[in-house]
Amino acid sequence: MLIHKDMKMADVIHLNHHLLHVVNRFGIQLGFGEKTVESVCEQHEVSLAFFLEIVNTFHDSSYFPVDNMKEFKAGMLVEYLHRTHQYYMNFKIPEIEKHINDLCLDNSLEEEIKQLLSNFFQQYKFELTTHINKEEQRVYPYVLALENAIETGNNTDELIEKLKIFSIHDYEEDHDDVESKLFDLKNIIIKYIPTPKDSRILNVILHEIFELENDLNNHGHIEDQILVPIVEKMEKELTARIQKNVQE
Protein backbone atom coordinates (compact mmCIF):
# COMPACT_ATOMS: atom_id res chain seq x y z
CA MET A 1 0.00 0.00 0.00
CA LEU A 2 1.28 3.40 -0.99
CA ILE A 3 1.58 6.11 1.64
CA HIS A 4 0.02 9.35 0.42
CA LYS A 5 -0.35 12.89 1.68
CA ASP A 6 -3.96 12.65 2.87
CA MET A 7 -3.34 9.68 5.15
CA LYS A 8 -3.33 10.33 8.86
CA MET A 9 0.22 10.23 10.19
CA ALA A 10 -1.01 7.95 12.98
CA ASP A 11 -2.23 5.47 10.34
CA VAL A 12 1.18 5.50 8.68
CA ILE A 13 2.67 4.17 11.93
CA HIS A 14 -0.16 1.65 12.28
CA LEU A 15 0.57 0.47 8.77
CA ASN A 16 4.26 -0.05 9.48
CA HIS A 17 5.68 0.78 12.89
CA HIS A 18 9.25 0.49 11.63
CA LEU A 19 8.61 3.81 9.90
CA LEU A 20 8.73 5.58 13.25
CA HIS A 21 12.55 5.75 13.16
CA VAL A 22 12.38 7.11 9.63
CA VAL A 23 9.83 9.75 10.58
CA ASN A 24 12.00 10.74 13.55
CA ARG A 25 14.87 11.51 11.19
CA PHE A 26 12.81 14.38 9.84
CA GLY A 27 12.53 15.80 13.35
CA ILE A 28 8.96 14.55 13.63
CA GLN A 29 7.97 12.91 16.93
CA LEU A 30 4.92 11.02 18.22
CA GLY A 31 1.72 12.78 19.21
CA PHE A 32 0.26 13.28 15.75
CA GLY A 33 -3.39 13.59 16.81
CA GLU A 34 -5.61 13.42 13.74
CA LYS A 35 -3.20 15.32 11.50
CA THR A 36 -2.52 14.14 7.97
CA VAL A 37 0.93 13.49 6.55
CA GLU A 38 0.66 16.73 4.63
CA SER A 39 -0.12 18.90 7.64
CA VAL A 40 2.52 17.26 9.84
CA CYS A 41 5.12 17.93 7.14
CA GLU A 42 3.96 21.51 6.83
CA GLN A 43 4.17 22.01 10.58
CA HIS A 44 7.76 20.73 10.65
CA GLU A 45 8.77 22.51 7.45
CA VAL A 46 9.59 19.23 5.75
CA SER A 47 9.24 18.85 1.99
CA LEU A 48 6.15 16.71 1.49
CA ALA A 49 7.29 15.18 -1.81
CA PHE A 50 10.64 14.22 -0.32
CA PHE A 51 9.05 12.79 2.82
CA LEU A 52 6.68 10.63 0.76
CA GLU A 53 9.52 9.29 -1.38
CA ILE A 54 11.57 8.31 1.65
CA VAL A 55 8.79 6.62 3.63
CA ASN A 56 7.52 4.80 0.56
CA THR A 57 10.93 3.41 -0.41
CA PHE A 58 11.36 2.26 3.18
CA HIS A 59 7.90 0.76 3.42
CA ASP A 60 8.01 -1.12 0.12
CA SER A 61 11.41 -2.18 -1.18
CA SER A 62 9.99 -2.68 -4.67
CA TYR A 63 8.71 0.90 -4.73
CA PHE A 64 10.37 2.82 -7.48
CA PRO A 65 11.26 6.49 -6.94
CA VAL A 66 9.24 8.97 -8.97
CA ASP A 67 10.69 10.53 -12.08
CA ASN A 68 11.07 13.98 -10.63
CA MET A 69 13.30 12.81 -7.79
CA LYS A 70 16.19 14.54 -9.51
CA GLU A 71 14.51 17.78 -8.51
CA PHE A 72 15.07 17.09 -4.82
CA LYS A 73 17.57 19.30 -3.16
CA ALA A 74 20.80 17.46 -2.45
CA GLY A 75 21.14 19.22 0.89
CA MET A 76 17.86 17.77 2.06
CA LEU A 77 18.90 14.28 1.08
CA VAL A 78 22.33 14.57 2.67
CA GLU A 79 20.71 15.79 5.88
CA TYR A 80 18.46 12.73 5.95
CA LEU A 81 21.33 10.34 5.21
CA HIS A 82 23.45 12.02 7.86
CA ARG A 83 20.73 11.58 10.47
CA THR A 84 20.44 7.95 9.50
CA HIS A 85 24.17 7.50 10.09
CA GLN A 86 23.75 9.12 13.48
CA TYR A 87 20.95 6.72 14.30
CA TYR A 88 23.21 3.77 13.52
CA MET A 89 26.26 5.04 15.36
CA ASN A 90 24.65 6.68 18.39
CA PHE A 91 21.72 4.39 18.91
CA LYS A 92 21.54 1.11 17.04
CA ILE A 93 25.16 -0.06 17.29
CA PRO A 94 25.49 0.83 21.02
CA GLU A 95 22.18 -0.94 21.62
CA ILE A 96 23.40 -4.16 20.06
CA GLU A 97 26.74 -3.80 21.83
CA LYS A 98 24.94 -3.51 25.15
CA HIS A 99 23.00 -6.71 24.51
CA ILE A 100 26.18 -8.53 23.50
CA ASN A 101 27.79 -7.35 26.74
CA ASP A 102 24.80 -8.72 28.63
CA LEU A 103 25.22 -12.01 26.85
CA CYS A 104 28.88 -12.07 27.88
CA LEU A 105 27.76 -12.07 31.52
CA ASP A 106 25.89 -15.33 30.98
CA ASN A 107 27.96 -18.07 32.61
CA SER A 108 26.23 -20.89 30.80
CA LEU A 109 27.97 -19.88 27.58
CA GLU A 110 31.59 -20.84 26.89
CA GLU A 111 34.10 -18.01 27.14
CA GLU A 112 35.49 -18.69 23.67
CA ILE A 113 32.08 -18.39 22.04
CA LYS A 114 31.34 -15.10 23.75
CA GLN A 115 34.72 -13.79 22.60
CA LEU A 116 34.11 -14.88 19.02
CA LEU A 117 30.74 -13.21 18.91
CA SER A 118 31.83 -9.93 20.38
CA ASN A 119 35.01 -9.81 18.27
CA PHE A 120 32.99 -10.43 15.15
CA PHE A 121 30.64 -7.63 16.05
CA GLN A 122 33.55 -5.28 16.80
CA GLN A 123 34.98 -6.04 13.37
CA TYR A 124 31.63 -5.21 11.88
CA LYS A 125 31.37 -1.98 13.83
CA PHE A 126 34.79 -0.96 12.54
CA GLU A 127 33.76 -1.73 8.97
CA LEU A 128 30.56 0.28 9.27
CA THR A 129 32.33 3.20 10.97
CA THR A 130 34.92 3.34 8.19
CA HIS A 131 32.20 3.27 5.57
CA ILE A 132 30.21 6.03 7.24
CA ASN A 133 33.24 8.23 7.92
CA LYS A 134 34.25 8.07 4.30
CA GLU A 135 30.82 9.27 3.25
CA GLU A 136 30.61 11.95 5.90
CA GLN A 137 34.10 13.30 5.31
CA ARG A 138 34.57 12.90 1.58
CA VAL A 139 31.34 12.29 -0.28
CA TYR A 140 28.68 14.40 1.41
CA PRO A 141 30.82 17.58 1.60
CA TYR A 142 31.52 17.19 -2.12
CA VAL A 143 27.79 16.92 -2.82
CA LEU A 144 27.04 20.00 -0.75
CA ALA A 145 29.84 21.97 -2.43
CA LEU A 146 28.40 21.11 -5.83
CA GLU A 147 24.97 22.24 -4.79
CA ASN A 148 26.34 25.44 -3.33
CA ALA A 149 28.28 26.22 -6.51
CA ILE A 150 25.19 25.67 -8.64
CA GLU A 151 22.95 27.76 -6.42
CA THR A 152 25.30 30.69 -5.94
CA GLY A 153 26.72 30.55 -9.45
CA ASN A 154 30.31 30.77 -8.30
CA ASN A 155 32.53 27.76 -8.27
CA THR A 156 35.81 27.83 -6.42
CA ASP A 157 39.05 26.67 -8.06
CA GLU A 158 39.17 24.01 -5.41
CA LEU A 159 35.89 22.56 -6.62
CA ILE A 160 36.99 22.69 -10.26
CA GLU A 161 40.10 20.69 -9.34
CA LYS A 162 38.00 18.21 -7.39
CA LEU A 163 35.64 17.73 -10.32
CA LYS A 164 38.63 16.74 -12.46
CA ILE A 165 39.77 13.95 -10.16
CA PHE A 166 36.58 12.75 -8.52
CA SER A 167 33.09 11.98 -9.69
CA ILE A 168 30.12 10.45 -7.94
CA HIS A 169 30.55 7.57 -10.33
CA ASP A 170 33.74 6.58 -8.44
CA TYR A 171 31.74 6.52 -5.25
CA GLU A 172 29.05 4.36 -6.81
CA GLU A 173 31.71 1.98 -8.14
CA ASP A 174 33.31 1.20 -4.82
CA HIS A 175 30.27 1.76 -2.65
CA ASP A 176 30.74 -1.54 -0.83
CA ASP A 177 27.91 -3.24 0.90
CA VAL A 178 27.95 -3.15 4.66
CA GLU A 179 25.39 -5.90 5.05
CA SER A 180 27.43 -9.05 4.32
CA LYS A 181 28.85 -9.40 7.81
CA LEU A 182 25.42 -8.78 9.34
CA PHE A 183 23.97 -11.43 7.07
CA ASP A 184 26.61 -13.86 8.34
CA LEU A 185 26.05 -12.89 11.94
CA LYS A 186 22.35 -13.64 11.56
CA ASN A 187 23.04 -17.14 10.32
CA ILE A 188 25.72 -17.78 12.92
CA ILE A 189 23.25 -16.89 15.66
CA ILE A 190 20.28 -18.69 14.14
CA LYS A 191 22.14 -21.85 13.30
CA TYR A 192 25.38 -22.32 15.15
CA ILE A 193 25.61 -20.61 18.53
CA PRO A 194 24.80 -23.07 21.32
CA THR A 195 21.76 -21.95 23.30
CA PRO A 196 22.59 -20.16 26.53
CA LYS A 197 20.50 -20.81 29.63
CA ASP A 198 18.59 -17.61 29.04
CA SER A 199 17.98 -17.46 25.31
CA ARG A 200 16.03 -14.20 25.42
CA ILE A 201 19.12 -11.99 25.05
CA LEU A 202 20.15 -13.87 21.94
CA ASN A 203 16.62 -13.40 20.55
CA VAL A 204 16.83 -9.68 21.17
CA ILE A 205 20.24 -9.44 19.47
CA LEU A 206 18.91 -11.29 16.46
CA HIS A 207 15.86 -9.07 16.27
CA GLU A 208 18.05 -5.94 16.40
CA ILE A 209 20.29 -7.26 13.64
CA PHE A 210 17.32 -7.90 11.38
CA GLU A 211 16.15 -4.35 11.94
CA LEU A 212 19.57 -2.84 11.32
CA GLU A 213 20.06 -4.90 8.17
CA ASN A 214 16.71 -3.80 6.81
CA ASP A 215 17.45 -0.17 7.57
CA LEU A 216 20.91 -0.37 5.99
CA ASN A 217 19.50 -1.95 2.85
CA ASN A 218 17.15 0.97 2.46
CA HIS A 219 19.88 3.48 3.23
CA GLY A 220 22.19 2.03 0.59
CA HIS A 221 19.32 1.96 -1.86
CA ILE A 222 18.68 5.69 -1.32
CA GLU A 223 22.38 6.45 -1.77
CA ASP A 224 22.60 4.48 -5.00
CA GLN A 225 19.20 5.18 -6.52
CA ILE A 226 18.46 8.74 -5.43
CA LEU A 227 21.67 10.47 -4.34
CA VAL A 228 23.84 9.31 -7.22
CA PRO A 229 21.47 10.46 -10.02
CA ILE A 230 21.00 13.84 -8.35
CA VAL A 231 24.74 14.35 -8.09
CA GLU A 232 25.34 13.15 -11.64
CA LYS A 233 22.94 15.79 -12.84
CA MET A 234 24.73 18.50 -10.85
CA GLU A 235 28.14 17.37 -12.12
CA LYS A 236 26.94 17.60 -15.71
CA GLU A 237 25.48 21.04 -15.19
CA LEU A 238 28.59 22.38 -13.52
CA THR A 239 31.03 20.85 -15.98
CA ALA A 240 29.07 22.37 -18.85
CA ARG A 241 29.17 25.76 -17.17
CA ILE A 242 32.89 25.61 -16.50
CA GLN A 243 33.59 24.67 -20.11
CA LYS A 244 31.44 27.52 -21.29
CA ASN A 245 33.34 29.92 -19.06
CA VAL A 246 36.66 28.70 -20.45
CA GLN A 247 35.51 29.23 -24.01
CA GLU A 248 34.35 32.76 -23.37
Binding site: L116, F120, Q123, N187, Y192
Partner: protein, 204 residues
Protein backbone atom coordinates in the same frame (compact mmCIF):
# COMPACT_ATOMS: atom_id res chain seq x y z
CA UNK B 1 18.24 -23.12 -0.93
CA UNK B 2 18.70 -20.82 -3.90
CA UNK B 3 21.57 -18.75 -5.13
CA UNK B 4 21.25 -15.43 -3.33
CA UNK B 5 21.31 -13.13 -6.33
CA UNK B 6 18.89 -14.79 -8.70
CA UNK B 7 17.76 -12.26 -11.27
CA UNK B 8 14.26 -12.64 -12.66
CA UNK B 9 12.64 -10.75 -15.49
CA UNK B 10 8.85 -10.56 -15.78
CA UNK B 11 7.39 -9.27 -19.02
CA UNK B 12 3.63 -9.27 -18.68
CA UNK B 13 1.06 -6.51 -19.32
CA UNK B 14 -1.28 -7.41 -16.46
CA UNK B 15 -0.38 -5.82 -13.15
CA UNK B 16 -2.45 -8.40 -11.28
CA UNK B 17 -0.65 -11.30 -12.91
CA UNK B 18 2.74 -9.72 -12.22
CA UNK B 19 1.87 -9.23 -8.57
CA UNK B 20 0.47 -12.76 -8.33
CA UNK B 21 3.61 -14.20 -9.85
CA UNK B 22 5.77 -12.35 -7.35
CA UNK B 23 3.67 -13.64 -4.46
CA UNK B 24 4.00 -17.15 -5.81
CA UNK B 25 7.78 -16.85 -6.12
CA UNK B 26 8.12 -15.52 -2.61
CA UNK B 27 5.94 -18.32 -1.23
CA UNK B 28 8.35 -20.80 -2.72
CA UNK B 29 11.05 -18.96 -0.82
CA UNK B 30 13.01 -17.62 -3.75
CA UNK B 31 15.43 -14.88 -2.83
CA UNK B 32 15.28 -12.93 -6.01
CA UNK B 33 15.66 -9.57 -7.61
CA UNK B 34 12.85 -8.87 -10.02
CA UNK B 35 12.64 -6.48 -12.91
CA UNK B 36 9.17 -6.00 -14.29
CA UNK B 37 8.04 -4.77 -17.66
CA UNK B 38 4.61 -4.27 -19.08
CA UNK B 39 5.24 -4.40 -22.82
CA UNK B 40 7.69 -4.21 -25.66
CA UNK B 41 9.07 -7.33 -27.20
CA UNK B 42 11.33 -5.06 -29.25
CA UNK B 43 13.28 -4.23 -26.15
CA UNK B 44 13.81 -7.75 -24.90
CA UNK B 45 17.45 -8.03 -26.02
CA UNK B 46 18.20 -4.70 -24.40
CA UNK B 47 16.33 -5.61 -21.24
CA UNK B 48 18.16 -8.89 -21.02
CA UNK B 49 21.53 -7.30 -21.55
CA UNK B 50 20.78 -4.80 -18.85
CA UNK B 51 19.33 -7.16 -16.26
CA UNK B 52 21.21 -10.35 -17.10
CA UNK B 53 18.44 -12.61 -15.81
CA UNK B 54 18.50 -16.32 -15.13
CA UNK B 55 14.76 -16.64 -15.57
CA UNK B 56 12.41 -14.81 -17.89
CA UNK B 57 8.65 -14.99 -17.49
CA UNK B 58 7.07 -13.80 -20.70
CA UNK B 59 3.50 -13.52 -21.93
CA UNK B 60 3.38 -15.23 -25.35
CA UNK B 61 0.78 -12.73 -26.54
CA UNK B 62 3.63 -10.22 -26.65
CA UNK B 63 5.55 -12.49 -28.96
CA UNK B 64 4.72 -11.12 -32.36
CA UNK B 65 7.83 -11.77 -34.41
CA UNK B 66 8.71 -15.41 -34.14
CA UNK B 67 11.97 -15.31 -36.04
CA UNK B 68 13.16 -12.48 -33.96
CA UNK B 69 12.63 -14.45 -30.82
CA UNK B 70 14.34 -17.48 -32.30
CA UNK B 71 17.47 -15.54 -32.94
CA UNK B 72 17.32 -14.10 -29.52
CA UNK B 73 16.98 -17.48 -27.92
CA UNK B 74 19.88 -18.98 -29.82
CA UNK B 75 22.25 -16.41 -28.42
CA UNK B 76 20.90 -16.74 -24.91
CA UNK B 77 20.73 -20.45 -24.39
CA UNK B 78 21.58 -20.19 -20.71
CA UNK B 79 18.50 -18.17 -19.92
CA UNK B 80 15.36 -20.08 -19.05
CA UNK B 81 12.21 -18.75 -20.71
CA UNK B 82 8.87 -19.49 -19.10
CA UNK B 83 5.67 -18.68 -20.97
CA UNK B 84 2.74 -17.33 -18.98
CA UNK B 85 -0.32 -18.70 -20.71
CA UNK B 86 -3.62 -17.06 -19.95
CA UNK B 87 -5.44 -18.58 -22.95
CA UNK B 88 -4.88 -21.08 -25.70
CA UNK B 89 -1.51 -20.43 -27.26
CA UNK B 90 -0.63 -21.60 -30.78
CA UNK B 91 1.83 -24.49 -30.78
CA UNK B 92 4.50 -22.63 -32.72
CA UNK B 93 4.57 -20.04 -29.98
CA UNK B 94 4.52 -22.63 -27.19
CA UNK B 95 7.64 -24.23 -28.56
CA UNK B 96 9.55 -21.01 -28.02
CA UNK B 97 9.55 -21.59 -24.30
CA UNK B 98 11.46 -23.90 -22.05
CA UNK B 99 8.42 -24.21 -19.79
CA UNK B 100 4.82 -23.04 -19.66
CA UNK B 101 2.84 -21.89 -16.69
CA UNK B 102 -0.95 -21.79 -16.78
CA UNK B 103 -2.01 -18.67 -14.94
CA UNK B 104 -5.54 -20.04 -14.44
CA UNK B 105 -4.37 -23.13 -12.59
CA UNK B 106 -5.37 -23.46 -8.92
CA UNK B 107 -2.89 -22.42 -6.24
CA UNK B 108 -1.58 -25.85 -5.25
CA UNK B 109 -1.02 -26.79 -8.89
CA UNK B 110 0.76 -23.51 -9.61
CA UNK B 111 3.14 -24.00 -6.71
CA UNK B 112 3.82 -27.55 -7.84
CA UNK B 113 4.54 -26.56 -11.45
CA UNK B 114 6.70 -23.66 -10.37
CA UNK B 115 8.72 -25.85 -8.02
CA UNK B 116 9.14 -28.48 -10.68
CA UNK B 117 10.27 -25.89 -13.24
CA UNK B 118 12.74 -24.40 -10.81
CA UNK B 119 14.24 -27.70 -9.73
CA UNK B 120 14.43 -29.06 -13.29
CA UNK B 121 16.35 -25.98 -14.30
CA UNK B 122 18.68 -26.36 -11.35
CA UNK B 123 17.61 -23.19 -9.58
CA UNK B 124 15.87 -24.75 -6.65
CA UNK B 125 18.22 -27.23 -5.08
CA UNK B 126 16.49 -29.83 -2.90
CA UNK B 127 17.13 -29.21 0.76
CA UNK B 128 18.70 -32.60 1.51
CA UNK B 129 21.63 -31.53 -0.65
CA UNK B 130 22.12 -28.19 1.05
CA UNK B 131 22.41 -29.60 4.56
CA UNK B 132 25.88 -30.75 5.49
CA UNK B 133 29.24 -30.05 3.93
CA UNK B 134 31.08 -32.79 2.10
CA UNK B 135 34.54 -33.83 3.35
CA UNK B 136 36.22 -31.89 0.56
CA UNK B 137 34.16 -28.81 1.32
CA UNK B 138 35.20 -29.11 4.94
CA UNK B 139 38.86 -29.22 3.88
CA UNK B 140 38.42 -26.09 1.79
CA UNK B 141 36.45 -24.35 4.52
CA UNK B 142 39.21 -25.01 7.07
CA UNK B 143 41.81 -23.38 4.85
CA UNK B 144 39.58 -20.44 4.01
CA UNK B 145 38.91 -19.91 7.69
CA UNK B 146 42.64 -19.96 8.37
CA UNK B 147 43.01 -17.09 5.91
CA UNK B 148 44.50 -18.85 2.87
CA UNK B 149 43.87 -17.43 -0.59
CA UNK B 150 42.23 -19.44 -3.39
CA UNK B 151 45.66 -19.84 -4.93
CA UNK B 152 47.21 -21.27 -1.79
CA UNK B 153 44.25 -23.59 -1.26
CA UNK B 154 44.50 -24.91 -4.80
CA UNK B 155 48.20 -25.70 -4.30
CA UNK B 156 47.70 -27.29 -0.92
CA UNK B 157 44.83 -29.56 -1.95
CA UNK B 158 46.06 -30.23 -5.51
CA UNK B 159 42.85 -28.97 -7.10
CA UNK B 160 42.25 -26.23 -9.67
CA UNK B 161 41.36 -22.70 -8.65
CA UNK B 162 38.07 -23.16 -10.44
CA UNK B 163 37.28 -26.14 -8.23
CA UNK B 164 38.23 -24.16 -5.12
CA UNK B 165 35.81 -21.45 -6.18
CA UNK B 166 33.02 -23.95 -6.81
CA UNK B 167 33.55 -25.41 -3.34
CA UNK B 168 33.48 -21.95 -1.82
CA UNK B 169 30.23 -21.11 -3.57
CA UNK B 170 28.65 -24.30 -2.29
CA UNK B 171 29.92 -23.68 1.23
CA UNK B 172 28.38 -20.21 1.25
CA UNK B 173 25.13 -21.51 -0.16
CA UNK B 174 24.86 -24.30 2.39
CA UNK B 175 25.88 -22.35 5.46
CA UNK B 176 24.47 -18.95 4.55
CA UNK B 177 27.81 -17.34 5.42
CA UNK B 178 29.53 -15.09 2.88
CA UNK B 179 32.53 -13.42 4.50
CA UNK B 180 35.86 -14.97 5.45
CA UNK B 181 35.58 -13.78 9.02
CA UNK B 182 32.10 -15.29 9.22
CA UNK B 183 33.47 -18.62 7.99
CA UNK B 184 36.25 -18.40 10.56
CA UNK B 185 33.70 -18.02 13.33
CA UNK B 186 31.78 -20.99 11.95
CA UNK B 187 34.93 -23.12 11.78
CA UNK B 188 35.89 -22.35 15.37
CA UNK B 189 32.35 -22.89 16.68
CA UNK B 190 32.24 -26.26 14.97
CA UNK B 191 35.76 -27.16 16.16
CA UNK B 192 37.14 -27.47 12.64
CA UNK B 193 39.99 -25.20 13.64
CA UNK B 194 41.27 -23.82 16.92
CA UNK B 195 41.41 -20.12 17.60
CA UNK B 196 45.16 -20.47 18.37
CA UNK B 197 45.84 -21.84 14.89
CA UNK B 198 44.74 -18.61 13.27
CA UNK B 199 47.82 -16.49 13.77
CA UNK B 200 50.35 -19.15 12.85
CA UNK B 201 48.90 -19.90 9.45
CA UNK B 202 48.47 -16.32 8.40
CA UNK B 203 52.12 -15.60 9.13
CA UNK B 204 53.24 -18.55 7.02
Amino acid sequence: MISPTLQILIIEPSFLIREGLKTLLSQIGLAYRIEEFEFTVENIPKLIQKTNPKLVFLNPALLSDKEYFNRLEASLSEIIFIGLIPLEVPLNKQSQFDYLLNVFAPKAELIKSMESILSKSGILIPDNDSGTLSDRENDVLKLVALGLTNNEISEKLFISIHTVMTHRKNITRKLGIKTVSGLTVYAILNKLIKAEELKGTIDN
